[in-house]
Amino acid sequence: MSRDHLLRLRINGETHEIPAHPAERLIDVLRNQAAFTSVKEGCGTGQCGACTVLLDGRPVVSCLVFAGDAVGREITTVEGLAEKDRLHPLQEAFVRHGAVQCGFCTPGMLLAAKALLDENPKPTAEEIKHALTGNLCRCTGYRKIIEAIQSVAGATPLKRTARAARKGASR
């Protein structure tokens, strides 16, 4: 694809002018043209969630988004979470709770969690699990990830919440 175009993308609060075709995948433009390599490609078909970024605060899989469709919108990658050397509370919690193993799903997982907490600051364990269904993790079994998110949300510990939630939900 011709890269005669300059795409104006807002990434983590800064404007970038990037030589890229609007029909390129957003993941490719972010990784290859703009060097945001935290955006991971695990499948290329929107099934694993490793390439999750936020578009205007909502999580999307950037392997299924045309770069042109991100113009004029606010893109957030995990590079945009920490403020200088201070980790975002979710990043801090993932480190502290052992929610990170190989680290490949971690950026997407953090962004999915951030989108959830921005919308619903005190989610139940069940709500957290539902918010993460699009993000696969093969290392942890998810428990420590859920615990880390809950610790930020200031919710009650996993076990009690999980049981309370299950009583209400039938799936």
């Binding site: 990658t77 052992g98 859920i146």
Partner: protein
């Protein structure tokens, strides 16, 4: 013993880089002048290559080099033996150009009959995957092992009951999220090749690439990049040799990244197995004889699996008479590799399911029958001498106790179910009677026997002049072992963990280590780190002996100080500076290969809820007990156990390769379904810690055992819930629905 650094829940040292996106995986790297490499893969599972024509492709824009099996041995030459086998490789300026050129290569295939069923593969008349492969009167057998103990016929003669069952396990992918990627950079001037690659075994990659490219090892430098999950799938060479060859032909760096489809089709997934077990037992449940015939489906180029499977099929049980015949069988599928404990999840599904069948038939509690047969101190272990301790029993009891097994009540689960509180029934009490009737709850137990193996392990430890410590190993960090090494070094010197830096060096800058597999890194390399620290401490003592006026062996280094009788204690930092200046450098080192195997046991109890109408199974609770020796970092150990059981959960219920005539129907994450955040139960981890073996501070490898007992524990719980025995995993809703329907009609 009171510890200051080991045994502590310290966050992984690499976690901050992971959460900020700073970790550079292989696919994140770019070199100046880099080309893209793409493989042309066969669409056919079994075909003769009549001809390959690259004329058109080599004239395509951007193409720099093309290799085929005619001129490079790592590509298929006369025949392709599985769908996805690499036939040709293209290097071009952009990935799109390489893809377009690969598509323009013309291959004329002559299709051959396809062998996919492991049973049919061995029968007379089956097509041969490799010409001339025939052993023991069976076709396509590439490896066989026989294990004999006692006299199995005499054993059966003394049995009160004999049980015969056949069990089947699927092909599954390891499912790591990072597709394998490699970058090779051959410098034609210096003759030096550097490869950055996502591998569990950088020294294995070095020797293999050196062999294939006929280069001396000293000219091949392999840099193991952070691995985004391996679980056995990145244990051998993958793209490295062809990537290196393309770079050598082009004189420029070449990058290759597998797609997810490539991963499913053409890496080394975990192969399936068909296992026939005939077991003789006394009325009291004591096992007297086991005869087993095991067929391991090892795909197109095999992998010796029969040996491991044959020694493990008895599980953690005492069986005086044993006769096991195990075969590795070629089929037109990818080469089978390991996935968390080579063949152990397969054979444990068989033996642990059959033990449950026996328990129910004899009216013995499933826990009780295990306790009556479990191996203890002095019992023979196939291939490994005798049991040094009775930890397997302790582990089984720990799982049962944590799960509240005694409340279950006898061989029949009825009393457990009627006594179960709403909480234990997963909140079913709030549903109406109709729904309650539709859902059945059950509980099941299974145990596992595994060994961790030190292999070739080494480490170098430098005490810096300011009293900080730098640890260098060549062992790829998969599971947080670097953090544990820092804890081991901190404990050895009596300094804070923050003063230790751990580096995985490349194959030029670090000492040789075997790959990161077989639950060996913490066990073997961790012990090498500990010994290297002791070596460095002796060097410091020798260097300081004169000035402290004491013999070196009277000098103690601990709690941040260097002490000698009658001398003023030196702060560690000051002592380090002086010792380095007296001696030039303080560099401790250790290499070892002699550590004996360590046996690591696991046992799990699963509680499930089964929908009688649909066959849907929900695992509500999974109690995972494990002999971990000593948890250097309990948070990491828990993470390994939960993650390992998560693999077992997928193996039990949803993951399987589906083939049609040798073509894989589900090479993607939508159709090959791995458990998501919604599918996981509450994990409860019960660690059994006894510092008896030779790992550092008594630690054992913990990564593989937790995957082994999960599937049979869940299958046994399903039987407990609905009275239907499923002998083939995964127990998908469809499979269970059919079995329940068949049971009703019988």
């Amino acid at each position: 013993m009171k510890y200051t650094a080991v045994g502590k829940r310290i966050p992984r040292l690499d976690a901050p880089a992971h959460v900020t996106g700073q970790t550079r995986f292989a696919a994140d790297l770019t070199l100046p002048g880099m080309l893209w490499g793409i493989l042309l893969r066969s669409r056919h599972p079994h075909a003769r290559i009549r001809s390959i024509n690259v004329d058109k492709a080599s004239r395509m824009p951007g193409v720099v080099a093309i290799a085929t099996g005619r001129d490079f041995p790592a590509l298929a030459r006369e025949k392709v033996r599985y769908q996805g086998e690499a036939v040709a490789a293209v290097a071009a300026v952009t990935r799109d150009q390489a893809l377009a050129a690969a598509r323009a290569i013309e291959v004329d295939y002559g299709l051959l009959p396809v062998v996919t069923d492991v049973r049919m593969a061995t029968e007379p008349g089956a097509a041969l995957v490799h010409e001339g492969e025939q052993r023991a009167g069976m076709r396509n057998v590439n490896d066989e092992t026989t294990v004999k103990r006692g006299n199995v016929d005499a054993g059966f003669a003394t049995a009160d009951r004999i049980f015969e069952d056949t069990f089947e396990t699927p092909w599954v992918h390891q499912g790591y999220l990072e597709p394998h990627a490699s970058i090779a950079d051959y410098n034609a001037v210096t003759g030096k090749l550097t490869i950055w690659t996502s591998t569990q075994a950088q020294f294995g990659v070095r020797s293999s690439v050196a062999r294939t490219l006929k280069m001396p090892m000293s000219r091949v430098r392999v840099v193991g990049t952070p691995v985004g999950g391996g679980f056995g799938g990145k244990g051998g060479v993958i793209l490295e040799p062809i990537c290196a060859e393309l770079s050598r032909r082009c004189g420029r760096p070449v990058k290759m990244v597998m797609t997810r489809e490539d991963e499913f089709l053409a890496n080394r997934p975990c192969g399936g197995a068909v296992m026939e077990l005939k077991t003789g037992v006394k009325k009291d449940g004591k096992l007297v004889a086991l005869q087993a015939r095991l067929l391991f489906d090892t795909g197109a180029y095999g992998g010796a699996q029969a040996g491991t499977g044959a020694t493990l099929v008895q599980g953690p049980y005492r069986i005086p008479n044993l006769f096991v015949q195990a075969y590795s069988v070629y089929t037109n599928k990818p080469s089978a590799g390991a996935r968390r404990a080579l063949t152990a999840p397969h054979v444990h599904f068989a033996i642990e399911s059959q033990l449950d069948i026996i328990a129910h038939a004899l009216g013995i509690d499933p826990l009780e029958i295990r306790l009556r047969n479990v191996i203890g101190k002095g019992d023979p272990v196939v291939g490994d001498g005798t049991m040094p301790y009775s930890l397997p029993e302790k582990v089984i009891r720990a799982a049962a106790e944590r799960a509240g097994w005694s409340r279950r009540g006898g061989a029949s689960a009825a009393s457990y179910r009627s006594n179960a509180s709403d909480r234990e029934r997963g909140g079913l009490g709030t549903e109406g009677p109709e729904q309650r009737n539709r859902k059945a709850v059950g509980i099941g137990i299974a145990a596992a026997h595994w060994t961790c193996w030190a292999g070739g392990s080494s480490a170098v430890v430098q005490v810096n002049e300011d009293g900080t410590v730098s640890v260098v190993t060549g062992a790829i960090n998969l599971s947080g072992t670097d953090t544990s090494f820092a804890q081991i070094a901190a404990e050895s010197f009596g300094i804070p963990v923050e003063k230790v830096a751990v580096q995985v060096g490349d194959t030029d800058s670090s000492p040789r280590n075997d790959g990161s597999h077989h639950s060996r890194v913490l066990f073997g390399v961790g012990e090498a780190v500990r010994r290297a620290c002791e070596d460095a401490k002796s060097q410091m003592a020798e260097a300081l002996a004169g000035e402290m006026g004491a013999k070196a062996d009277r000098i103690e280094i601990r709690e941040g100080q260097v002490r000698a009788p009658g001398a003023r204690p030196l702060p560690f930092g000051e002592a380090a500076g002086r010792a380095a200046s007296y001696r030039g450098a303080i560099v401790g080192r250790a290499a070892l290969s002699e550590l004996p195997y360590s046996i690591s046991s696991a046992a799990q109890v699963a509680q499930v809820e089964v929908d009688r109408e649909t066959g849907q199974v929900e695992v509500k609770r999974l109690v995972c007990a494990q002999d971990v020796g000593f948890a250097i970092n309990p948070m990491i150990v828990e993470g390994q156990i939960e993650g390992g059981a998560s693999h077992g959960l997928g193996y039990a219920l949803c993951e399987e390769y589906v083939y049609d005539q040798g073509k894989l129907l589900n090479p993607n994450f939508m159709d090959f379904r791995m458990p998501t955040s919604l599918d996981h139960p509450e994990f409860e981890v019960a660690m059994v810690e006894e510092q008896l073996d030779g790992g550092p501070f008594g630690a054992k490898g913990v990564g593989e055992p937790p995957t082994i007992p999960t599937a049979p524990a869940i299958a046994n719980a399903i039987f407990d819930a609905v009275g239907v025995r499923v002998r083939q995993i995964p127990i998908t809703p469809e499979r269970l629905y059919r079995e329940m329907k068949r049971a009703r009609s019988e």
